[in-house]
């Protein structure tokens, strides 16, 4: 038995989210997290409403990733401080791993990101990444859309060198990798091509001195090249969340990458690509790879989706209808 989902008016909810109303945001995020059939339908309607009349290039979605202990949360907290001083509203999706045994999770990132409680310009939602083969939960991306409708900057913060890191770089406008001084892992992974190349690299804890400088120079040599997706030259920065140094420069660099995407008119294209990826994953979940084959295979579906100028909702519905018709 499932409990009927609460009936939410998608038009009113979308409007309230856009106004940045915290209660509405919380409700919208709960809805996107909800796996009941009728909630999924409502969620699609909500996303359609949020998309309606928007150019699709609103906000800046930043992925922050790196190995455990690199200080991502403290760095996020420091960045929130800078962004708030610049008058930007900030949303954060913090992803923590969950236990494979019980499915339970301890979501502790808020602790490290603690900002002023009374600030309406910051909203943090923690997420357990619930299995999904080590990757990010399917809910993360649609949640980021809700956040983007309400905030100037949205950050997805996740632990990981591996599938989660790749997932996050495939849903964000800008990916920032935080390296831990003295740990050669990140450099090795980058060299071996295991890491998706991030747009910005930052070595945290520069207050550690020599060891941080060494990691910085190793990363510089490992990269020293242009990013695969354009003419963006990957900067390697140094900062310290605890000492509060290098944070302004990091914020500037992240903003510069976002601006470059807008100016080269690649932002919309990229976001449409992510949307296609997500839809593909959703359809795979519902109909299996067999279903995708029936639609002509992954590549065909992706191309088709990227070419269309329909809303996420309409695309999803159209493809589902086609598949259901063949069954």
């Amino acid at each position: 038995m499932t409990q009927p989902a609460p009936n939410l008016d998608p038009v009113a909810l979308a409007a309230a989210v856009r106004r940045g109303e915290r209660a509405a945001l919380a409700r919208a995020l709960n809805l996107l997290d909800d796996r009941r059939g009728e909630s999924r339908l409502q969620a699609s309607l909500l996303l359609k409403q949020l998309q309606a009349g928007q150019a699709g290039d609103e906000g800046h979605l930043i992925g922050m990733t790196g190995p455990p202990g690199a200080g991502k949360s403290s760095l996020t907290a420091a960045l929130i401080g800078v962004w708030r001083r610049r008058g930007l509203r900030v949303g954060v999706l913090a992803v923590d791993p969950s236990s494979p045994v019980s499915g339970g999770a301890l979501l502790g990132d808020r602790l490290r990101m603690k900002t002023s409680a009374e600030d309406d310009g910051v909203f943090i939602r923690s997420l357990a990444c619930r299995g999904e083969f080590g990757g990010l939960s399917a809910e993360v991306w649609p949640m980021s859309l809700v956040m983007l409708a309400a905030f100037d900057v949205v950050m997805i913060e996740t632990v990981g060198v591996g599938q989660r890191e790749i997932d996050v770089s495939r849903m964000c406008d800008t990916t920032c990798f935080v390296a831990q001084p003295g740990s050669g892992d990140s450099v090795q992974f980058l060299k071996a091509g295991i890491l998706e190349v991030p747009h910005v690299l930052v070595v945290n804890k520069e207050d550690m001195g020599a060891v941080a400088r060494r990691t910085l120079s190793e990363l510089g040599t490992a990269l020293g090249r242009v990013h695969t997706d354009g003419d963006w030259e990957v900067p390697v920065l140094s900062a310290s969340a605890t000492a509060g140094t290098g944070i302004e420069a990091l914020a500037d660099t992240l903003a510069m990458h976002g601006k470059a995407l807008v100016e080269s008119k690649r932002l919309l294209e990229r976001r449409r690509g992510y949307r296609a990826q997500w839809l593909l994953k959703r359809l795979q979940e519902e109909f299996g790879s067999h279903g995708i084959d029936q639609l002509g295979g992954e590549q065909a579906v992706l191309q088709q989706l990227a070419a269309q100028d329909l809303s996420l909702f309409e695309q999803h519905q159209a493809l589902r209808q086609r598949l259901l018709a063949t069954h």
């Binding site: 919380a26 909800d34 969950s98 236990s99 045994v101 499915g103 999770a105 502790g108 357990a128």
Partner: protein, 666 residues
């Protein structure tokens, strides 16, 4: 041998940890206790004083005068020791983050009494490192905290030579779940961190350093396993002696002696059949007195009813009388050490020493105690131990009479009175304290205050010893909140690791656990998403063990747990619950301010449009208050009586189910 020819040892210092409501009320209590034969004072400060807030700070609401006496300024300190000549008193102050400030006030009051501060005797607890692991009254990050600790030590060694500047505490480690081995290892590792810091600060010339080692004392816990506890204290003595000699080169045997005070276990005191606590306390006292070579210098005993609420003067008198009977009526003090040469005792001591040395080596490998705390290592180890203990109580492997066995009881006449056997807090005290504080502030010479605070800031920034400008602040009429605020600005504030990210060690599903997990999963499916629970610790109370255990258990049961650690404002908790989309809020409050805090959180939730979120609470909550909370909309109240964690989890699931229109699970 006739009794009058026997030479008896001098008894230990007898104290009672006390203080409440106001300086005036506490002073009356102290003078009454001294009249009853108590030989020293042990001051309990309230949480705002311990965490550096004035009584009228928003975070102090509901906490003023609750777990101790509020001290806002020199006027309060003077009233606290009114008609108690400080040169004739031995005063122990349980104070840590604000220890330099409270000692400064004590010195300033001595001056007003015409007492030369160099004659003062007593103890400041001044061990902030354990506050990060248990108890939670830290303010600043570890590095500046260690600096304040060393400043106080360096100052008293030179200026108040009979003062015990720090009481390295293993007491609270046991409370947080430490095994005897862990207690030994972490307390001694803390002592190393502090002594090394004093040595490296360059404030004490090398030839005077032995005097510093000689002034270090310990504050220890004694649990119900009193044979093992005796051995633990003998192990402490042996390890400390060796450390003083080998690591710090102390030649004088007297300066290598392990000196400690003790408060026996309040972790093991039960709420059910509380009269049994009397025999527990007596047996625990034996652990720290039987062995002459490992006997406590000072003892304070808890009252039998501390798991129920605040003890009354009569309850404290009973605790004092236990000590007096042991010291004065029995023949214990007529003999030498009873255990020297016992192979059984010696073997156990060696086992504890070996275990502790191994754990100390692990801490040293990580760079020492400060680093092992910052990384979360020590806290995690403690949470693991505590979780194991809770599991053993739940399974009945660890027997607690009246709690998990022999639960049937006749009605207790001790708790039958109109006061239910505990002291009722004086609700007017907070308002009076605030009014008096505001009047005091208005009557000061503001220019003198401002200049004293500037001197304090200069010392904090520049690295000069913090004590002289703190004493100047005390004389000038600076308040506790002002002193702390300057240091907060310079040093920053800290949030300690919670330690709850422990592995799911050995939690092979019992049938009960499997059933709870199935209920959590099923309810999550019915409601469309996994069940989420926010564990909140509002207010200034830092006793986080209960909250941590619920968080770990909840995670193991399949909940997604949002836990942000201690000292949150009602608004922070309400907003986090909303942002995180939780199904239920669980609060933990042990300071006695549950009524005020719940009321504030409910108001905040309503304000942000989340008034429909269900709320439960756990803590030391008297029955009357529990009834009031339930009537006010709280869904459930848990107290130390509730030891079956699976039953608690099942209850939480059902609360969520009922709240969302689902039928209860059996």
């Amino acid at each position: 041998m006739s009794q009058d020819t026997v030479k008896r040892d001098r008894p230990w210092l007898m104290r009672t940890y006390s203080g409440h409501s106001s300086a005036k009320a506490s002073n009356e209590l102290y003078r009454m206790n001294l009249g009853k034969g108590q030989t020293g004072l042990s001051v309990a400060f309230d949480l705002p004083t311990q965490t550096g807030y004035d009584s009228d700070h928003p975070l102090a609401r509901g906490e003023v005068g609750k777990v101790g006496v509020p001290i806002d300024h020199i006027g309060d300190m003077e009233a606290l020791f009114d008609a108690i000549p400080l040169d004739k008193m031995n005063t122990s102050m349980t104070i840590n983050a604000t220890a330099p400030w409270l000692l400064a006030l004590y010195v300033a009051v001595a001056e007003r009494q015409g007492v030369d501060p160099s004659a003062l005797e007593g103890t400041t607890q001044n061990d902030v490192l354990k506050e990060y692991l248990s108890r939670g009254t830290y303010i600043f990050p570890p590095t500046p905290s260690v600096r304040l600790t060393t400043d106080l030590i360096a100052y008293t060694v030179e200026n108040i030579p009979r003062w015990n500047p720090t009481n390295i505490c293993s007491y609270h480690l046991q409370e947080a779940g430490a095994t005897p081995t862990q207690e030994l290892a972490y307390a001694l590792s803390t002592a190393i961190a502090i002594l090394d810091a004093v040595r490296d600060s360059g404030q004490i010339p090398p030839e005077r350093f032995a005097a510093v080692v000689g002034r270090i004392s310990f504050f220890v816990n004694a649990g119900i396993r009193f044979v093992e506890e005796t051995c633990k204290l003998r192990a402490f003595g042996a390890m400390w002696e060796k450390m003083a000699k080998e690591r710090y080169g102390v030649e004088d045997e007297k300066q290598r002696r392990f000196r400690y005070g003790v408060q026996v276990n309040s972790l093991g005191l039960t709420e059910s059949q509380p009269e049994n606590n009397v025999q527990r306390i007596v047996l625990e006292m034996l652990a720290v007195t039987l062995s002459k070579n490992a006997r406590a210098r000072a003892i304070q005993l808890p009252a039998w009813n501390e798991a129920l609420g605040l003890p009354r003067p009569w309850d404290q008198q009973w605790a004092l009388r236990m000590q007096q009977v042991l010291a004065l009526e029995t023949d214990l003090l007529e003999y030498g050490d009873l255990f020297d040469g016992s192979p059984v005792i010696e073997a156990k001591v060696q086992e504890l020493v070996a275990g502790a040395e191994a754990e100390m080596a692990r801490v040293a490998e990580q760079g020492g105690m400060v680093q092992a705390i910052e990384s979360g290592y020590v806290k995690r180890e403690l949470v693991v131990s505590h979780t194991r203990r809770m599991r053993d109580i739940e399974s009945g492997e660890l027997k607690i009479v009246g709690v998990n066995c022999y639960r049937e009881t006749a009605e207790s006449p001790l708790t039958a009175g109109a006061d239910a056997g505990i002291m009722k807090a004086d609700v007017q005290a907070e308002r009076d304290q605030i009014a008096a504080l505001q009047a005091f502030r208005a009557g000061r010479d503001q220019a003198v205050v401002a200049s004293a605070l500037e001197q304090l800031r200069a010392a904090a920034v520049g690295g000069a010893n913090i004590m002289p400008p703190s004493i100047a602040c005390a004389r000038a009429g600076v308040t506790t909140g002002e002193w702390s605020e300057v240091l907060r600005e310079v040093f920053g504030e800290y949030r300690a690791p919670t330690g709850i990210d422990i592995a799911l060690a050995g939690q092979a599903g019992s049938a009960a656990m499997d059933q709870v997990r199935a209920g959590v999963r099923r309810t999550g499916e019915e409601l469309g998403r996994p069940l989420r629970l926010l564990i909140g610790k509002p207010g200034l109370d830092g006793h986080s063990n209960g909250a941590e255990q619920i968080a770990v258990k909840g995670r193991d049961a399949g909940f997604e747990i949002v836990y942000e650690g201690i000292r949150l404002t009602p608004s922070q908790i309400a907003r986090a619950a909303q942002e995180e989309g939780v199904h239920l809020i669980g609060l933990s409050v042990l300071s006695g301010s549950h009524l005020e805090l719940v009321e504030d959180i409910q108001a905040e939730l309503k304000k942000i449009g989340a008034g429909d979120l269900p709320l439960i609470i756990g803590g030391i909550i008297p029955d009357d208050d529990a009834r009031q909370l339930l009537a006010g909309g709280v869904q459930a109240v848990f107290t130390p009586k509730d030891v079956d964690m699976n039953a608690i989890m099942a209850r939480l699931v059902n609360i969520i189910r009922l709240h969302n229109g689902l039928e209860e699970l059996a």
